[in-house]
């Protein structure tokens, strides 16, 4: 059994490596002299690497399923890796419709960030709590992961469109917001690198803090910048916190999460500052010239097409299958749990996207911004709602 699990995690690493190579090869395609429609040799290599990576990840998925006895979609680690896989699958589908190499250059890094982010959560096999013991677990979750993967491709295409089209000559609202979007991707990298570093160093510091009547302990794995309110450091030989987290942060382990956020932001800012110094211009402006051969209309079409494919699938997975399961497990198909509400919000958002595009002619830049916003809502639902707002879906 443990062999199977070892194989499983090896396969995930393998997939990660192949996606990384594929990203580099998609980067190489930018130097191709050929016109866009031709995939080119480097494109062929890149997409082959992606497909090999996908097979590796599917092997991870299946072996982990066998090892655990249930579909590996039951906690944050497992879901986020599945979402990464969803993006890769969606990318491959869209790639074979539109043959756009540039999509890979942006889609695969997003998948990579998601998989790396996933591995920051506990990765050991966990037993299935009673409410999750149902075949609807994989029916519901895999459909959601795939649909969000497809919507992720619309985000990627929207981002490419914006980087290409937004005027970078002087500072304006458009390129500022674009920098914020790019910065938030860098913050994810900041999170991953700081967490990985201190995990490798086996850093640990414990704080005791009062909560109502009782005294709780918070275990920090990153050096404390912000300690829990009114807390006492009980681990010896580590640096005490610089200040205390505000008291209105109420959720479980809120101060620790706040501390992690601070670390991600700080490392993200350092990375961003370093990049800016290196490039001497906005990151968006630095990438823009690389995209000069890209057909913006085609990218815009992909943005929309991905939503057109993803929206029905999202409705099916995140609302209909979810409702059927909720009816069986919790005696009501809809209960206004935060996760459910945010799924509805996502659905409203993409419904508005489609109406604006089809009936009111929102194309190009406007529609790209909406695609970026939609994915931001999906990420919010996944990260903030799971980790900050307590509810029935807090599994991690």
């Amino acid at each position: 059994m443990s062999n199977l699990l070892t194989l499983s995690s090896t396969m995930l690493y393998t997939a990660f490596a192949f996606y990384s190579f594929a990203t580099i090869m998609f980067g190489v395609t930018l130097t191709d002299k050929n016109k866009q429609k031709k995939i080119g040799i480097s494109g062929m290599i890149a997409v082959s690497l992606t497909i090999i990576g996908l097979f590796a990840q599917l092997t991870y998925f299946v072996t982990r399923w066998i090892a655990a006895g249930h579909a590996p979609v039951s906690n944050m680690f497992e879901f986020m890796t599945s979402l990464g896989m969803g993006i890769v699958i969606a990318f491959i589908i869209i790639y074979f419709i539109y043959r756009l190499n540039i999509l890979g250059l942006f889609a695969l890094p997003v998948a990579l960030i998601l998989i790396a982010y996933a591995s920051m959560f506990p990765t050991e096999l966990s037993p299935l709590q009673p409410s999750l013991q149902s075949p609807w677990l994989y029916i519901h979750i895999t459909t959601v992961a795939l649909s969000q993967g497809i919507l992720g491709i619309s985000f990627v295409a929207g981002l490419i469109y914006l980087i290409k089209q937004i005027d970078q000559n002087k500072r304006n609202k458009g390129n500022m917001w674009l920098e914020i979007v790019l910065f938030s991707l860098i913050v994810c990298i900041g999170f991953i690198s700081s967490t990985t570093t201190f995990n490798a160093l086996d850093y640990q510091a414990e704080f005791e803090y009062p909560s109502g009547e009782s005294i709780l302990t918070a275990e920090y794995n990153l050096p404390a910048i912000a300690a829990p309110k009114d807390s006492v450091l009980i681990t010896e030989g580590v640096q005490d916190a610089l200040f205390e987290a505000p008291g209105w942060l109420q959720g479980s382990n809120a101060a620790k999460k706040f501390n992690t956020l601070l670390w991600s932001l700080i490392v993200g800012l350092i990375l961003y500052g370093f990049l800016r110094l290196l490039l001497r211009k906005r990151i968006g402006a630095a990438i823009q010239p690389l995209l000069k051969n890209i057909n913006a209309d085609l990218v815009d079409e992909v943005t929309y097409r991905a939503v057109a494919i993803g929206f029905p699938l999202f409705t099916l997975g995140a609302l209909i299958f979810a409702s059927i399961w909720a009816q069986i497990a919790w005696d009501r198909f809809w209960g206004w749990d935060p996760k459910e509400v945010w799924a509805l919000v996502t659905w409203f958002f993409y419904a508005a996207f489609l109406h604006l595009r089809l009936s009111r002619g929102w194309h190009g830049e406007k529609s790209s911004w909406l695609a970026v916003g939609g994915f931001a809502i999906i990420m919010f639902n996944l990260i903030v709602v799971n980790l900050v707002i307590a509810g029935l879906h807090s599994y991690a």
């Binding site: 109420q250 057109a308 069986i328």
Partner: protein, 558 residues
């Protein structure tokens, strides 16, 4: 009604923008769709006559016009979106945790979240989704759905039915995809027709003019999915009726048989056993995760129950005649269903006290030897226990779930559940006229006067578990299912297919070629490339990208 007769002879209804038959722009109505000479034609609704854009006199016209606007619809969606998020800032009232100091919303929110919580409570956001204004918002979306759909569907259907293969030249050269080819041979024309059929277009011919069309049904997708949504909204209105939807909850102790609430006394339940299973903490696969979760991971919550039907409900108060309907187990994800009802495992209480045994002994007996023993059934205690030697114990006060009210220094019971039973006993003996008072509970044995001759001590107790089952009967579920199904059919129909049309217009020796699709222009261009490959026909040019002044005006929808 001022009908408009086009030069092709077709009579169009008032407000038509493009002739339904030949597509020629009707001069005086071009402003309606924002068309002008320089722009491409707005093909969104085929230039058909829409009520909302044609009539604007009566109040009904104005209301119709308001709700038929997609702009208004999108605004309603955006408002609903923002409103929905507000309800997730703090937990809704139904999700106030069981262990909260006070579950009263008036106290809980301020207590837990300070001033923000207080405002949240005062704005009524703690019960947002059943507030009147949220419901009105959803109802407005429903109205908008219906009116938008009717306003567009009827004329669109008519226009698509009336269209003729022979189109006016202006109609073609103001399409987004257009090309002019000269000197086209008979073979090329024939090849064109063959290819269109091969690409599975439905080809219609009129005097050499060709209309090739496919996927028209995808145009109905939006209207179909809107019907699905309307059915869902109607279902949720039906669900407010107690005849169609009933919810209740029953706590039942192991070994207890009681009526199931919400069934008008018709059904009874007997709880045979409640079971909690745990994962084995030494399980090779899961031991790390279980250790991280604190060494406890529940595997199963289960109630083994029997459901009975009372066959004699005619006489109220009469002894029920019970007939077994179903015996089974209720687990999470496995509700028990019978006669339209469903029972769900949704709560439990472990180790509730069933009974407690006491002994009576003399205060000054160092061995505390029992003089008498008696057992109190905690679900329905008797008031008096008489013994042969003339002693008599009376239960003066019973606190099933005892706590000491600090403010008043008085003992009280938090609830009627025997979770922490305590008693005030009066002991009557033949030697004494006035009774002795003693207080007994778990870990407590108090003699208030300090002069009692007799004492009471707990010798034994028995416990049982209690199952919390929610009771549901929901006749609206099939309707919700139908609505969801229709929505899915509609949205797939509209999103995964496109309505593509290609017009071939012979002009002298040459051919005018124009094409339109409601989406996926990339796809139709590929079709045309395949169709004209190996012929002298010119590839269509995307006039939207070539002529920048052709951008479709964005607010021409009003």
């Amino acid at each position: 009604m001022n009908k408009i007769k086009c030069e092709c002879g077709h009579v169009n209804p008032e407000g038509t923008v493009l002739c339904e038959a030949c597509g020629k722009p009707i001069e005086e109505n071009q402003h309606i769709d924002g068309n002008n000479q320089k722009r491409l034609l707005n093909m969104r609704y085929e230039g058909s006559s829409r009520r909302s854009l044609t009539y604007n006199k009566s109040i009904i016209d104005k209301i119709w016009r308001f709700f038929s606007s997609v702009k208004v619809g999108v605004w309603l969606i955006v408002i609903a979106l923002v409103a929905s998020t507000l309800g997730t800032i703090f937990p809704q009232a139904i999700y106030i945790p069981e262990n909260a100091a006070s579950r009263d919303p008036a106290i809980y929110y301020e207590d837990q979240f300070g001033i923000f919580g207080k405002v949240y409570y005062q704005l009524g956001l703690y019960d947002l989704y059943s507030s009147w204004w949220y419901m009105i918002l959803i109802a407005l979306i429903g109205i908008s759905l219906v009116i938008c759909s009717i306003d567009r569907f009827v004329p669109l259907r008519r226009a698509l039915k009336m269209q003729k293969p022979k189109r006016h030249e202006t109609f073609l050269n103001r399409q987004r995809l257009y090309s002019v080819s000269t000197n086209i041979s008979h073979e090329d024309r024939h090849h064109l027709k063959k290819m269109l059929k091969k690409l599975r277009y439905r080809v219609r011919n009129e005097d050499g003019h060709i209309l090739a069309e496919k996927g028209r049904f995808s145009r109905w997708g939006p209207y179909v999915n809107h019907i699905g949504l309307i059915i869902i909204l109607i279902a949720s209105i039906f669900r407010m009726s107690p005849f169609l939807y009933m919810e209740d909850y029953v706590w039942t102790r192991e070994g207890e048989q009681k009526v199931i609430p919400g069934t008008s006394g018709e059904y009874y339940i007997e709880n045979k056993e409640f079971i909690i299973e745990m994962y084995d903490e030494d399980d090779e696969r899961f031991k790390d995760a279980i250790a991280r979760m604190g060494g406890r991971a529940e595997k199963n919550f289960q109630s083994n129950v029997v459901v009975y039907k009372n066959t004699d409900v005619s006489v109220p108060g009469a002894e029920p005649k019970l007939e077994k309907v179903k015996e089974g187990q209720i687990e999470l994800n496995h509700p028990l269903k019978f006669d339209g009802y469903a029972l769900y495992q949704s709560g439990f209480q472990e180790n509730e006290f069933s009974n407690m045994s006491f002994k009576l002994y003399e205060t000054n007996d160092p061995d505390q030897k029992a003089i008498e023993n008696f057992t109190v059934d905690l679900a329905s205690p008797e008031t008096e226990y008489k013994f042969d030697n003339g002693l008599r114990v009376v239960i003066d006060k019973y606190y099933p779930n005892y706590y000491l009210d600090e403010d008043y220094g008085e003992p009280r019971s938090e609830s009627n559940d025997p979770w922490n039973p305590a008693f005030v006993f009066k002991v009557y003996s033949p030697d004494n006229e006035s009774p002795e008072i003693s207080f007994a509970g778990i870990g407590r044995n108090i003699d208030p006067t300090g002069e009692n001759q007799y004492k009471l001590g707990i010798t034994d107790f028995e416990t049982h578990d209690v199952s919390g089952l929610s009771v549901r009967r929901d006749y609206t579920l099939p309707l919700f299912g139908l609505g969801a199904l229709i929505f899915m059919v509609g949205v797939v129909q509209g999103m995964y297919w496109q309505h593509r049309r290609i017009w071939v217009h012979p002009k002298g020796e040459g051919i005018l070629l124009a094409a339109h699709t409601n989406k996926n222009w990339f796809g139709i261009k590929k079709d045309i490339e395949r169709m004209i490959a190996g012929t002298n026909l010119q590839m269509v040019v995307d006039q939207q990208t070539t002529k920048k002044n052709n951008e479709i005006k964005e607010d021409n929808d009003e």
